[in-house]
Every structure is written in structure tokens, then in C-alpha cells.
Subunit: 185 residues, 2 copies
């Protein structure tokens, strides 16, 4: 691999893709629909998270099949893989990992750029909305399928006036993988 | 241009893109949400069409800015442009045009492949659903912004057992473009 290439780039170049603007507008249609359906913005955040979870538990297979990565040795490596390979493979942007806690169970995933929000401005009435909350659900769902129970939530959002998109990722439990057979079967 | 290249290919290579599977699953989440919200499948078809319309009236700008096409001289050329450049630019697939009526106001847009439906199977309860109906709305909305009032509806759908996705596109009215100024101003 040439020294300047990043692990997500080659993968992103090889997956099937659709136009980002179509995706952005389609995602906007979901959020608008949920805002119509539910009175409370908190409930919309929750629905987006659930939708994302259902997507994440399916996307993980595609990711593992195509990302050409080896098993992550620990949670730090998992977080780096999400930021560098996962975001690139699915959204075409690269994120970073920061703000680890002392025991390495909690960190922030940071995106400076985010194709979900192109052309979006939140009206006054939606001030509690985490517009991209679906991403938290996707990450939570995907990690659950590789035996990590996590909590993922937005703590910074450019649409709300912050300087970046920052999701706080917290490892709650690492479930030991169980095999349906014993080694000596 | 090399003889075998198609007009949509170069454009598609140059637009920003996201992973097709993420888009497919996100679109599936919309349809599922609408099926939860509305009891009647017909109403879901209508909602998808309306969502598409709202997307189409915005996507057309991106299309005209990036597709590098000249003004279509007639409705036949418009239909060909949608099938060859539009579908490619936004969905990454190429469609075809067929079944023109005698006076050239009505034709079919045909897709053999359609990234919206990967992994989709319709349950028995959704038999009246046109799963991809958002596409009809997108085309209708986009054409309205270039002064063509149209009717667009699915007449064949692989998910319903047909051999292709076929949308019937009917030109209802071509509104002459009005300029906000006179030539001698």
C-alpha cells in the first residue's frame, strides 16, 4: 500500500455507490416524515436511532465482507476502524477518534464533514433534534453484531452550532463469542 | 469520447457518492415507516410519490449543473436523457426507453436493475405496493422544473412478479418558458 493511502479509500472505490445528493435528500424525507408523525423531537431522535440500529445489524455483513480488515484486537482498534474505514466506506468521508477515557472504554467519533446534512437548516421548532441520529443507531447495531454492546449518542452537532459532529461511543459490555459447537466435537 | 462510453458514465464518475447498500437500507426504512403510518397501501404509494416530487424539484439543479447536457430539443430526447444520463447519474444504472405512442407524448422508462430493491421481498400484506414509487415522483418533480407537466406511474415491477421495472411517462403539458423581462428591456 503506498504510504499516503488510507485504508478506507481502496474499499470505498470498490463498493457500489449512488449519488450523494439523492441520498441526502432521501434521508431528509425520512426526517421530515418522522417530524410529521411524532410531536416530540425526542421521539424523533429515538426513532432515527432505532432505524439506524436496524440498518446497522444488516450493514455489518457487507462491511466485514468488503472492508478487508482483520479482527480488531481491542475496542481502541474498533473505534479507529469505524472512523477510518466505516465512515469512508459508507459515507465517503473520514472521521477521527479522540477524547478517550482512562480505561479505554469510551471515546468520541468526530466528523468534520457529513453528507447527510448538505443543504439542511433546522427550523426553530426542531432545536432538540439530532438530525443525524440514525448514525448512532447504525454504529450501535453494527457493533452489537460483533458482540459489543454499546451506547452511542451525539454530543456535538454543527447543525446546533457546534464546531464538529461528535458522537460519544461507550462500550457497555463485550459479550464473549459463543460457538454453537465445542472444539472437541 | 471513446465510441463505447455512454454519456452517463463520465458524469457518474465525477459526482459525490455514498455506499449503495446504505442507501438501499435507508430507503427501506422510509417504506417501512410509511407502511406503519398509513393503513392503505395506496396511500403509501401516494406518499412515496410526493416525497419523490419534493426530491425531484431539488435534484434537477444538480443534474443540470453536472450532467453537461444541452437543452433537450423534444420530449423524445428528454426521455432518453432521463434513462441514459439521469438514472446513471443518480442510481448508477442505465435504463432504456420503449413503447412510444404515435404522437410521441407517452413512453416507457425501463430498468432491468434497480439498487432500491436489493434484498427486498414484499410480504403478502403489501401486494398493492409500488415499492419504488418514489422514482415516479422524482421524475415528475424534476420535469416540472423544466416546464413539463407529466404523469408518471409504474406499470411493471419485478417485486410484483413482472420481468422489469417499467414506468409509464406521459407528457400532459409543455409550459412555454416565461422570462421575467422582455427582449427589448
Amino acid at each position: 500500500m503506498p504510504p499516503n493511502s488510507r485504508p478506507g479509500d481502496a474499499v470505498f472505490a470498490n463498493v457500489e455507490r449512488v449519488n450523494a445528493e439523492l441520498f441526502t435528500l432521501t434521508y431528509g424525507a425520512i426526517v421530515r416524515q418522522l417530524l410529521t408523525d411524532f410531536e416530540e423531537v425526542d421521539e424523533v431522535n429515538k426513532q432515527l436511532d432505532t432505524m439506524g440500529y436496524n440498518i446497522g445489524i444488516r450493514l455489518i455483513d457487507d462491511f466485514l465482507a468488503k472492508a478487508n480488515i482483520t479482527r480488531c484486537s481491542d475496542f481502541r482498534e474498533t473505534a479507529e476502524t469505524i472512523a477510518k474505514v466505516g465512515f469512508k466506506m459508507f459515507l465517503g468521508v473520514t472521521g477521527s477518534v479522540a477524547n478517550w477515557n482512562a480505561d479505554g472504554t469510551e471515546c468520541s467519533l468526530i466528523l468534520d464533514d457529513n453528507p447527510l446534512v448538505d443543504f439542511v437548516e433546522l427550523p426553530e421548532t426542531c432545536q432538540g433534534l439530532y438530525y443525524c441520529n440514525i448514525l448512532c443507531g447504525v454504529i450501535r447495531g453494527a457493533l452489537e453484531m460483533v458482540s459489543m454492546r454499546t451506547e452511542v449518542k451525539f454530543v456535538k452537532d454543527i447543525l446546533r452550532g457546534d464546531d464538529a459532529y461528535e458522537m460519544r461511543l461507550k462500550l457497555l459490555e463485550q459479550v464473549p463469542e459463543e460457538y454453537p459447537y465445542k472444539d472437541d466435537d
